[in-house]
């Protein structure tokens, strides 16, 4: 995965609350066995409407989306993260995110930045005309107007994003610990590890 350090550019002032993953990518786009090309279906229902923010020239390919509370709620489809990635999105700023979406975003190198509603409101205003910068290392969001908002991020996620680390590879390196756990479970609850080999 590509390391993430600083994300700078136009931020699409979406602002909507409770954006569900059906809205980000409708189900008909999920019939794919690849991660590529989903940007074409991103926000399809909204893009069909006149004056929608995603079709405005200055926001085509914008690396940042600014949204309302509870972004990415609903379905667990990781296609939502893949679709955003394919649109060129590298970060989403919102007051809150659904747990599943923020995990999916992280695993695809998309930074989710949680800021209080007042900060988000200010950024929505700035984004109409000017770029926004997110500095992951220093955990701050800035604008050309001396705005400066700090955000929290899980240290492990920050480390992985900064270094571009693959989580599966990291966990596979913990093989001995996993094997120990499996042995313990096998002796304490032998029935549990049999799974589908336990057919009646």
């Amino acid at each position: 995965m590509e390391p993430v350090r600083e994300i700078e550019g136009r931020a699409c002032p979406f602002g909507r609350k409770n954006v569900d993953t059906d809205l980000i990518i409708p189900a008909k786009w999920l019939k794919t066995i690849s991660r590529e090309g989903l940007g074409r279906g991103a926000f399809e229902a909204l893009r069909g409407q006149p004056d929608n923010v995603f079709e405005r020239e200055e926001f085509l390919g914008a690396p940042i989306i600014i949204a309302g509370d509870n972004f990415g709620c609903g379905s667990s489809r990781e296609h939502a993260a893949w679709a955003l990635l394919d649109m060129g999105v590298k970060a989403v700023i919102a007051p809150s995110f659904s747990d599943i979406f923020s995990g999916n975003a992280f695993k695809n190198g998309i930074l989710t930045v949680e800021l209080p509603q007042e900060a988000v409101d200010r950024l929505l205003e700035v984004a109409e005309t000017d770029p926004v910068t997110i500095d992951l290392e220093r955990q701050i969001v800035t604008t050309p107007f001396q705005d400066r908002f700090t955000f929290e991020i899980d240290p492990f996620r920050k480390h992985c994003l900064l270094e571009g680390l693959d989580e599966v590879g990291l966990t596979l390196a913990r093989d001995a610990a996993i094997s120990d756990y499996e042995q313990r479970q096998d002796s304490e609850m032998p029935w549990l590890g049999r799974g589908t080999s336990l057919a009646a």
Binding site: K17, N18, D20, D22, L23, P26, A27, K28, L30, K31, T32, I33, S34, R35, A45, G68, D69, N70, C73, G74, S75, S76, R77, E78, H79, A81, S96, S98, D99, I100, G103, N104, K107, N108, D154, P155, F156, E167, V168, T171, L172, R174, A177, I178, D180, Y181, E182, Q185, M189, P190, W191, L192, G193, R194, G195, T196, S197, L198, A199, A200
Partner: protein, 477 residues
């Protein structure tokens, strides 16, 4: 060990910690993994590309459900009917190929055991109390109905579980939803969970695991508990669970993958310890009086947009939050409703009984009881009943429920996700309404422009009879 009192969630969590990191993140062992065709192809592909194996193939169970058409799958000559949609067919054959290549147990499209993954898991005794269960589907929360810690994951996590049988997780906060008293006649588990989501909101459970506690859940069947836990995600919680009890054990005994013989006794002895200790602390507590709950319906495009069937469409100005007012205005425009309109006067042209929320035998019995000896309204153009699995279908047919449905003018289909999510041929036409027993009323969820009203199976049946949203209690003889 004299430890501090713990919640059921903490007990399951603690029992699955492989390693704890300094920052509190834990490597958690995953006991059971369910796989379907939509969220798994990219995970298997990634394994292949990196030359990795499935660590514990026997702990994963695969079954197709989302894409599969619910029309006949075998023709008069016993031949499999090909799936017309090429992309769907390709995704289904990818699952077949991937499970064969990696040695994962697979129930194929025409197997008796095939069904919606969240119906199949408990039904096959694969989902067990006290286990950690994941699936690339947010309604995995359903399995909490048997006392498991079950939650939806994304495709990268599917890959992580296949390769390592673990996930890196931060412990969630614990929330209890206590419902005391008894549900009134005609009020079901579905009405209760819709009511709960209406109370806590779609983000009310974000960051929490919910334990459903109190008399109502103790009195409930396992099927009903699965319905409640299933929609935990609509309240923002990744997981919801009910402590296992004798009903749970009776439900699971002698199922295909349930422990047998001495193993069974040892398992039950352990499962009996799986309850929240007296004095255990919850980070958030919500109390609800069961007797106040009426049959519930949704009016908008978020599952929190819930009113009792006797209520009216709310005015956007009635919400304190300005962004909610704006959302309500957009919802009403999409739904074609006006503030003050009575819910029981809203006409529906479609009825869908099915989905991982409401397609178990108990759901079908409840719908059949309402429909028995009656006929759907002529204005209802499309009404389908989709059993949750081949086993549910067989059971329903043995009880004669299929004939009740077809004699009432409803179609009796093959098992699958069907009209819950608009990715197979079962869709609701634009600008038409559907009384649906599914779990999401999002914009376009049942098809572009489709207008969804979430209801219980009995209420969906009542709507089929009258052609409008109807208080099922008024239909009683």
């Amino acid at each position: 060990m004299a430890s501090r009192p713990r919640t059921l969630y903490e007990k399951i969590w603690d029992a699955h910690v492989v390693e704890r990191r300094e920052d509190g993140t834990c490597l958690i062992f995953i006991d059971r993994h369910l796989v379907h065709e939509v969220t798994s192809p990219q995970a298997f592909e990634a394994l292949r590309m990196s030359g990795r194996k499935v660590r514990r193939p026997e702990l994963t169970l695969a079954v197709p459900d989302h894409n599969l058409p619910t029309t006949a799958r075998i023709d008069a000559n016993g031949q499999r009917i090909p799936i017309a949609d090429r992309a769907s067919a390709e995704q289904l054959s990818a699952l077949e190929r991937n499970t064969a290549d990696f040695g994962v147990h697979y129930f194929g499209a025409t197997a008796l055991e095939q069904g919606i993954v969240h119906v199949v898991g408990p039904e096959q005794g694969f989902s067990l109390p006290g286990t950690t269960i994941v699936c690339g589907d947010s309604h995995t929360a359903a399995h909490g109905g048997v006392g498991a810690l079950a939650f939806g994951i994304g495709t990268s996590e599917v890959e992580h579980v296949l390769a390592t049988q673990t996930l890196l997780l931060k412990q969630s906060k614990a929330m209890e939803i206590v419902v005391e008293g008894q549900l009134g006649p005609g009020v079901t588990a579905k009405d209760l969970i819709l009511h709960i989501i209406g109370v806590i909101g779609t983000a009310g459970g974000t960051g929490y695991v919910i334990e459903y506690r109190g008399e109502v859940f103790e009195d409930m069947s396992v099927e009903s508990r699965l319905t409640v836990c299933n929609m935990s995600i609509e309240g923002g919680a990744r997981a919801g669970l009910v402590a296992p009890d004798d009903k749970t054990f009776a439900y699971l005994q002698d199922r295909r993958f349930s422990p047998k013989g001495d193993d069974w006794d040892r398992a039950v002895a352990y499962w009996r310890t799986l309850k929240t200790d007296p004095g255990a602390r919850f980070d958030k507590s919500v109390r609800i009086d069961a007797s106040k709950i009426e049959p519930s319906v949704t009016w908008g495009t978020s599952p929190e947009d819930v009113v009792p069937i006797g209520g009216v469409v709310p005015a956007p100005e009635s919400f304190a939050d300005p962004s909610k007012q704006q959302a309500a205005r957009a919802s009403l425009e999409y739904m074609g409703l006006t503030p003050g309109q009575r819910m029981d006067e809203v006409e529906v042209q479609n009825v869908f009984i099915g989905s991982c929320t409401n397609s178990r035998i108990e759901d079908l019995r409840a719908a059949a009881e309402v429909l028995k000896g009656r006929r759907k309204a002529d204005t209802v153009k499309w009404a389908i009943v989709v059993p949750g699995s081949g086993l549910v279908k067989r059971q329903a047919e043995q009880e004669g429920l299929d004939r009740i449905f077809t004699e009432a003018g409803l179609e009796w289909r093959e098992p699958g996700c069907s009209a819950c999510l608009g990715m197979n041929p079962d869709k609701v036409p634009a600008n038409e309404r559907c009384a649906s027993t599914s779990n999401r009323n999002f914009v376009g969820r049942q098809g572009p422009g489709a207008r969804t009203h979430l209801v219980s199976p009995a209420m969906a049946a009542a709507a089929a009879l009258t052609g409008r949203l109807t208080d099922v209690r008024r239909l009683a003889d």
